[in-house]
């Protein structure tokens, strides 16, 4: 025990074990469930490479992640939402690390008969001014708006970038992206939104102002509905937290895990916010 601690802290020569000099210690990470799969997998790989590191990754939601990291009770707080936009969180003490980009697509029930919406039409649908697909050239079918829960990071991103901040009407709320997909597929006239990683053939993916929601269109800046995934530390990260964040931003994670799990690598973005 003592030996290993000495080896890490001082990086002294003479520590000849294989992983000597590498980081050691433990990290506790919590927050966004949308980001959890990525952080979880990255943590597993990181621990495999650094056997003296223990990383615990919990969910709890973006709000919990931000609150706890601001309190100092965890090392890193994951969030889909920028800390400045979370009511009740003192963002001034937090340092943002943008680790991935997520694109969001507008999805509808396959039988609505519409392939494209303008942003204006989208806003009118979600604010209740358009109520039938017929008005958009589709089937004679009442529009059923389905939202994520009020605190969802996906909903916040959608409201900010797709609805330009307009407040949605009260409507059915669904707890998770998987449920959104299932409900939209089953409910005639339904419209909602999903992160790219959740898209499949059971729902109709709508173009926005004629632009398809694809990774290429997000990175080139043509498609506007995307947001960063954040990992926050309180002040500058400690050595171990920094090593882990560097690992997540390294090619080993960005070029494989990030794309495999349906996120977009930060480095691919030709536009920034």
């Amino acid at each position: 025990m003592m030996v290993s601690v000495l080896c890490t802290s001082a990086l002294v020569p003479g520590c000849s074990r294989k992983d000597a000099g590498g980081p050691a210690g433990s990290l506790v990470i919590a927050g966004s469930t949308a980001l959890q799969p990525l952080v979880d997998q990255a943590a597993k790989q990181f621990m495999a490479n650094n056997t003296r590191v223990q990383i615990t990754v919990n969910g709890g939601g973006s709000g919990a992640g931000l609150t706890q990291v601001a309190e100092g009770s965890i090392d890193i707080g994951d969030s889909d939402i920028a800390a400045e936009e979370m009511p009740g969180v003192d963002a001034s003490k937090l340092v943002d690390h943008k680790v991935a980009v997520v694109g969001f697509a507008v999805v509808a029930n396959p039988r609505v008969g519409v392939d494209n919406l303008t942003q204006r039409q989208l806003i009118d649908i979600f604010t209740g001014r358009l109520t039938n697909w017929k008005e958009l050239g589709g089937a004679d079918q009442r529009i059923v708006v389905i939202n994520r829960g009020k605190g969802s990071g996906t909903r916040a991103a959608f409201k900010q970038w797709a609805l330009r901040g307009n407040e949605e009407i009260e409507s059915m709320n669904v707890d998770s992206s998987g449920e959104v997909r299932q409900t939209v597929a089953a409910t005639p006239g339904a419209i909602s939104y999903l992160a790219f990683s959740y898209l499949d053939d059971s729902v109709k993916v709508l173009n926005l102002d004629g632009v398809a929601p694809t990774v290429e269109n997000v990175t080139s800046g043509r498609y506007p509905v995307w947001s960063y995934e954040h990992m926050y530390t309180k002040g500058d990260p400690g050595p171990l937290a920094k090593a882990f964040l560097d690992y997540i931003l390294s090619d080993a994670v960005q070029k494989s895990l990030v794309t495999r799990l349906g996120y977009i690598p930060v480095a691919d973005m030709q536009v920034t916010r």
Partner: protein, 295 residues
């Protein structure tokens, strides 16, 4: 084992356990009250605005007239769905209890008892899952609307509260003294007359206790209802409208709010309302349980 001297052992442990239970309960009550009252004491929301407000926009910026934390849609949803569930479940449950105790005590109890126990043991997510896949499409296709509705929630709950009501009602009916039965039959009552005029009135307190326990169970159920009710923060206008309940409202928002914010405090206040409701149910049970011969 001799029964003469005072027995050694348990008492201190038992007293300790009881003390822990009381302290934990008190701590939970104090904690919820402390967090729940912050909405009114710290954020200065008027309790009337909170309980009777129909707009839940805790995220609306102050510049646009927010934030608003009216919980009437949640309160209305909980009350309507639970009441409806118990109203549908009670006749069936009480009739089952009568069947088991009076009509077919032997095989009835042997078959129904395990069935009820199985019912009680099924996790709520399974009820919700079945409701989502069977009830919701059925209502959508045959009755109209989205399928996600007050009706779907109430139907799922009515099955879930049945074990509670049947269980308590069976005990209450069994506790009715045999003398009453003998007297009734001795006076020439038919079985129906005995059940209608003697058995049920005599067991009224116990049966009502079961009904209130069922109501309390329905009020507190979260997951199964959340899966089928459509979680729409509006006071429902019909049985086919989607709605929202206090419990599902808390569950949907809690992970996304920062501790100490008005939004978070308002969720604690909703928990406080649930706590107050369960106290109310306990008081009602004490009152009705005290009445009636077999109570």
């Amino acid at each position: 084992m001799s029964k003469t001297g005072p027995r050694p052992g348990p008492p201190r442990l038992v007293v300790g356990a009881a003390a822990v239970l009381v302290v934990v309960t008190a701590a939970v009550v104090v904690f919820i009250a402390w967090r729940g009252l912050a909405t009114f004491l710290v954020n200065k929301v008027h309790p009337f605005e909170f309980l009777a407000g129909v707009v839940w926009r805790p995220d609306r910026p102050a510049a646009e007239g927010g934030p608003l934390v009216g919980i009437l849609p949640f309160l209305a949803g909980s009350v309507i769905v639970s009441t409806l569930a118990v109203a549908m479940s009670t006749p069936l449950s009480v009739a089952s209890a009568v069947f088991v105790t009076e009509v077919a005590p032997n095989w009835g109890l042997r078959v129904l008892q395990p069935a009820i126990e199985v019912f009680a043991g099924i996790p709520s997510v399974v009820y919700g899952w079945v409701g989502l896949n069977v009830l919701v499409p059925f209502i959508r296709n045959h009755l109209g609307g989205l399928g996600f509705s007050v009706l779907a929630g109430a139907l799922v709950l009515s099955v879930m509260v049945m074990p509670t009501i049947v269980g308590v009602a069976v005990d209450a009916l069994k506790a009715v003294p045999l003398e009453l039965k003998n007297a009734a039959y001795g006076l020439g009552s038919t079985r129906w007359q005995f059940i209608r005029y003697v058995l049920l009135p005599a067991a009224r307190g116990g049966v009502l206790t079961g009904v209130v326990l069922g109501l309390s169970r329905a009020f507190g159920e979260t997951l199964a209802v959340q899966m089928v009710i459509g979680n729409t923060r509006l006071v429902p206008r019909s049985l086919l409208s989607p709605a929202v309940t206090l419990t599902s409202g808390i569950a949907m928002d809690m992970g996304h709010t920062a501790a100490g914010s008005l939004w978070n405090n308002a969720l604690w206040s909703m928990a406080l309302v649930l706590l107050a409701t369960s106290f109310l149910f306990i008081v009602v049970i004490r009152l009705v349980g005290g009445k009636g011969a077999a109570g």
